[in-house]
């Protein structure tokens, strides 16, 4: 905290430091926000204005026409629904299986426990692009291609989630679980009523992580989905872009509708989300 700023009173030269630092950070952070604002501005510009050179910073005559055109020309509602269904299902199921798997690996002794856990962890080292081709063939064999199931099923289990929950459950005293057993609680009741509430922070972290990853995923949907009606938002955005290559007013309107809700949700819950991401990142 005090590393860079030893602000001792009475020394004017040093008092300038904090302001310089804040100013630098402000300029730097602008670099990270401005492109998003440019997207927003472009989305409200009429088509003639978007081609103007030099470009205008703010729309001179703001219009909602771009949004109307996007919604009229493209099945945007379906794309949104697909993205919500896929990201929602993947998040819920990954949280459920991670809670269960993490608890089992943390608190039970059973044959083959160690090798099985090692195998699960080993999948963390496999980069997804390597699984692209075989997953395509497997999904093809199972008849999943070109359906939302192809996007949901591979994400149902998460080695990272199981690992995260296991670390968390290790901190729960086994006595608590034994006591519940002596009271006659069934194993499933112990899991649902005692363990799940206690690992909620880990599950929240996993949930944020999984939802964002699934919502923004591009490579796998690109391979697994053909129909426009079954596309998720990132996939649909590139399609939209390829059809309206030079119409940045329309492309930015479509991008705005995909991105802004996520940004708003992040800004509302940012404290919890940041905490969750740090927890997930630091293990």
């Amino acid at each position: 905290m005090a590393t860079l700023l030893p602000s001792r009173p009475g020394r004017r030269q040093r008092d300038l430091w904090p302001w310089l630092l804040v100013a630098t950070l402000a300029v730097a952070s602008l670099v990270f926000v401005l492109p998003l604002l440019l997207m927003l501005a472009a989305a409200f510009k009429p088509s003639a204005e978007i081609l103007q050179s030099p470009p205008t910073l703010l729309p001179q005559s703001p219009t909602l026409d771009n949004f109307r055109t996007v919604l009229a020309e493209a099945p945007y509602g379906a794309w949104y629904r697909n993205s919500l269904v896929v990201a929602g299902a993947v998040t819920f199921l990954a949280m459920a299986t991670s809670a269960l798997g993490g608890y089992i690996f943390a608190k039970f002794e059973f044959p083959l426990k160690k090798p099985l856990f090692a195998l699960v962890l080993a999948t963390l080292m496999i980069p997804f692009p390597v699984l692209l081709i075989p997953n395509y063939l497997v999904a093809n064999r199972l008849g999943l291609l070109n359906s939302l199931w192809a996007l949901i099923l591979p994400g149902v289990v998460s080695a990272f989630g199981i690992f995260l929950v296991r670390q968390f459950v290790a901190g729960i005293p086994s006595d608590l679980i034994e006591a519940a057993r002596l009271d006659g609680a069934s194993e499933w009741a112990i899991f649902l009523r005692i363990v799940v509430p206690l690992v909620r922070p880990a599950l929240a972290a996993l949930g944020v992580f999984t939802f964002l990853a699934s919502w923004n995923d591009y490579l796998w949907p690109l391979v697994a989905i053909n129909d426009l009606e079954k596309s998720t938002l990132p996939l649909a955005l590139t399609f939209f872009n390829s059809v309206n290559a030079t119409r940045y007013d329309l492309v930015m309107a479509a991008a705005t509708m995909a991105v802004v809700p996520v940004l708003v949700v992040f800004l509302i819950f940012q404290r919890q989300i940041v905490k969750a991401l740090v927890l997930a990142g630091m293990k």
């Binding site: 470009p55 194993e187 955005l237």
Partner: protein, 313 residues
């Protein structure tokens, strides 16, 4: 699902039978296996089986349209390394991408994290500003930056022209395209590294700095003597994670340049994708993705070695 339960209850080894089972052992094992088997089945179908398939494919000439898939040994690999300039180009581009963009990322992320750490009151506001791009989809970010890089109507050239600097067609010149794409990637995921580094910085006890100050250590001496070594693990963790992700770049190049101009931004994943799904050469593409996996595994294992030897405190 019942099979493993019974086999546990009736152990075949004589030694295991003598061990006394606590009451409720049977119901615990039933819980373990009913819970675990569906989970493990998913791993088998979507991770272990695919790894087997990709290794098998890499040793065969497999084309979905062809009726047979003859075994060809390591021919896919030797072809890639000796007869396919596009593969070597993509390999080079991928390595260059990782070697340039990872330090570039940390070069900005570390000072920003240090800065944020020094302004406790404004930290939350600035942090969300830096973090905002990481939440957006990479496709949307690619489209935004393509708009900014537009030669005539884009903001970058306008800004550069205003201060008298050279303007470029950033994405259509081979000399600048890869840099423009890397800048986009760094812009988007810098915030995540800032977040992790900041958490690492906050984990360093204030006492260390206080002690150093009483010893008369200046700001730079404290940074080199305390901050850097204590942040070492976090820095390494962040670098490796970033490197692994930069070795697999796909979305930015696919959306912004399609690998061009003249293949100058074609990464390995993009090349694998086009070989597999445009040319339908699934065997050859699998072999190339196995090469990518080997590179990434090497980076991961090197990290484990390094963590064990150098950074023990």
């Amino acid at each position: 699902m019942a099979a493993p339960t019974t086999s546990v209850l009736a152990p075949t080894r004589p030694g295991a039978a003598r061990r006394s089972r606590p009451p409720g052992y049977a119901s615990q094992m039933a819980f373990v296996w009913t819970g675990l088997i569906p989970i493990l089945a998913m791993f088998v179908v979507f991770a272990f089986l695919p790894i087997g398939v990709v290794l098998w494919l890499s040793l065969h000439r497999y084309n979905q349209l062809a009726p047979t898939a003859p075994f060809i040994g390591l021919n896919n690999f030797t072809f890639a390394f000796t007869k396919d300039p596009f593969f070597l180009g993509a390999l080079g581009t991928t390595l260059k991408y990782a070697v340039v963009a990872v330090p570039l990322n940390l070069l900005f992320a570390l000072p920003i994290a240090l800065g944020l750490n020094a302004v406790p009151r404004l930290r939350a506001v600035f942090r969300s500003a830096f973090f905002l791009p990481t939440v957006a989809s990479a496709v949307a970010v690619s489209l935004i930056w393509r708009y900014i890089y537009e030669p005539q109507t884009g903001w970058l050239n306008v800004a550069l022209g205003a201060v008298g600097l050279l303007e470029h067609s950033w994405l259509s010149e081979p000399a600048t395209a890869l840099w423009a794409v890397m800048a986009t990637a760094v812009w988007q995921d810098l915030g995540y590294n800032v977040l992790i580094l900041l958490a690492g910085l906050q984990g360093i006890p204030d006492d260390f700095y206080d002690a150093a100050k009483t010893d008369g250590a200046g700001g730079w001496a404290r940074f080199v003597g305390i901050t850097l070594p204590l942040l070492g693990r976090t820095l390494l963790f962040v670098s490796v994670l970033t490197m692994i992700s930069y070795l697999q770049q796909f979305t930015y190049v696919q959306v912004m340049t399609g690998g061009g101009p003249i293949h100058s931004t074609e990464t390995m994943v993009l090349y694998v994708y086009s070989k597999a799904f445009s040319d339908m050469q699934l065997g050859y593409a699998s072999a190339m993705s196995v090469v990518l996996m080997a590179i990434i595994l090497l980076v991961t294992l090197a990290q484990f070695r390094f963590l064990r030897t150098r950074w023990e405190y």
